[in-house]
Symmetry: C2
Subunit: 252 residues, 2 copies
Amino acid sequence: MDKALQVREFAGLAGVTVRALHHYDRLGLLRPRRTAAGYRLYGRRELERLEQIVALKFIGVPLKRIKSMLDRDSAALPGALKRQRTVLEEKRRLLDHAIEAIRNAEQAFAEGRQPDTAILKHIIEVIEMQNDQDWSAKYYSPEARAKIEERKKEWTPELQEQTTKAWLDLFRDVEAALGDDPGSERAQALGARWKQLVGGFTGGDPGVAAGLNKMYADRPNWPAHMKETMAPFSNPKVWEFMGRVLKCASIG
Amino acid sequence: MDKALQVREFAGLAGVTVRALHHYDRLGLLRPRRTAAGYRLYGRRELERLEQIVALKFIGVPLKRIKSMLDRDSAALPGALKRQRTVLEEKRRLLDHAIEAIRNAEQAFAEGRQPDTAILKHIIEVIEMQNDQDWSAKYYSPEARAKIEERKKEWTPELQEQTTKAWLDLFRDVEAALGDDPGSERAQALGARWKQLVGGFTGGDPGVAAGLNKMYADRPNWPAHMKETMAPFSNPKVWEFMGRVLKCASIG
DNA sequence: TTCCAGCCTGACGTTGCGTCAGGGTCAAGC
DNA sequence: GCTTGACCCTGACGCAACGTCAGGCTGGAA
């Protein structure tokens, strides 16, 4: 006869609450035997199972899935572990961003005399970057995403500013040259600048370039603030003109 | 007249759902004006406030607190930011542990032929370490906790094993010497070994040592698995004997 | 027998919305 | 003037994992 414990003792032994045991019982996750009076009795088998439950819960597996894992496809464990790890790593990424955002805001507060509400703008910035990235991810293949991730590490705010300015300049110059012959020297020079700026983002990777094209093609579905951000670059005449310029370049 | 938007447009603009706006409205967090028919109308002021809400939500502040922050003590923002950051950092610590635990389990799976359920033991190990640490934290002052954190970085599994063995050996030797005079050379040698092992954990820090004493004094309240872990070291005669030995040492 | 500790089963509360269900509103087309 | 169809409204339930009563048995001791 194995020692059988009542809920309270068992809960203490295993480091969970009595209520949790009740909960697991109702979910069918851990059903102890019962005395005639209905008291729950836990033994060694239950302890083992509970430990597995706690382990899976610790790594963030929801109770329902724990149940199906332990009851049915226990062979799927390694796959489940990996999936769960990627989930947690994603959560961690989010947490990192949030912490970074707070740091930004705190620093802004420590440095300057801004009204409290304005400080939150620093957090908003991070959120929007985050949103843009999550949202644009769907246009890229996994490999392309990996490339972008890699290149992002070498990305600095100054570089960002320079790039934005370069694009603005280019658009202004192209608008001034809309009447030119696409094959003209001036137009081709603009085309070269264009290609270089694109290359600065794609890093020459065709997969990244393909994603970028998909994203551009889908611009009617962009979220509002993305459209707003890209508003200075939305002139369709410029795009059309550059299309012809680049076609000339590839032919000639 | 500022442009007033209906829920759908406003939600799209701000990147939240219509339902969320309804929710914030009911909570009193963001109350737009209404048309005669009861339609919600959002303007620039509402957009600003919503951005602040989203920012605070992003860093994990619950809606109720957001409300009180924005309505009443908006001056408490920097403090709130700091608190929130520590909360998130704590969460991140937990997440890291969970990820580490999964890695352990995955490696065990990749290496050896263990049954699936046994692999979860590797996760359980991490959980228990985590629990022990969280629970023992209450005995230490913040400074002592910081010291321990620092020393933990130089802690390796091998060192852990060595230390455990050293303690086991010491207890065995002390048990064999219980009849000796506490002032005797043999007893004093045992006392020296004891002090050295304690010092190996405290690093000579009196704060850490104080916490350790508090923890030992509270041993009736230790959780079950802690008692189990410490069972080999629970012989009260050994502790009593060592008390006398160390008193002799400090006097003589 | 009585008492108290410990067990039981509901059932509601929490957090931030998602998701119907049932029913007005409004501009447009017939 | 009436019907659409697109939007809007207000409940109200659902989810995840228990916490926290409330009301009522059980079981061993005094």
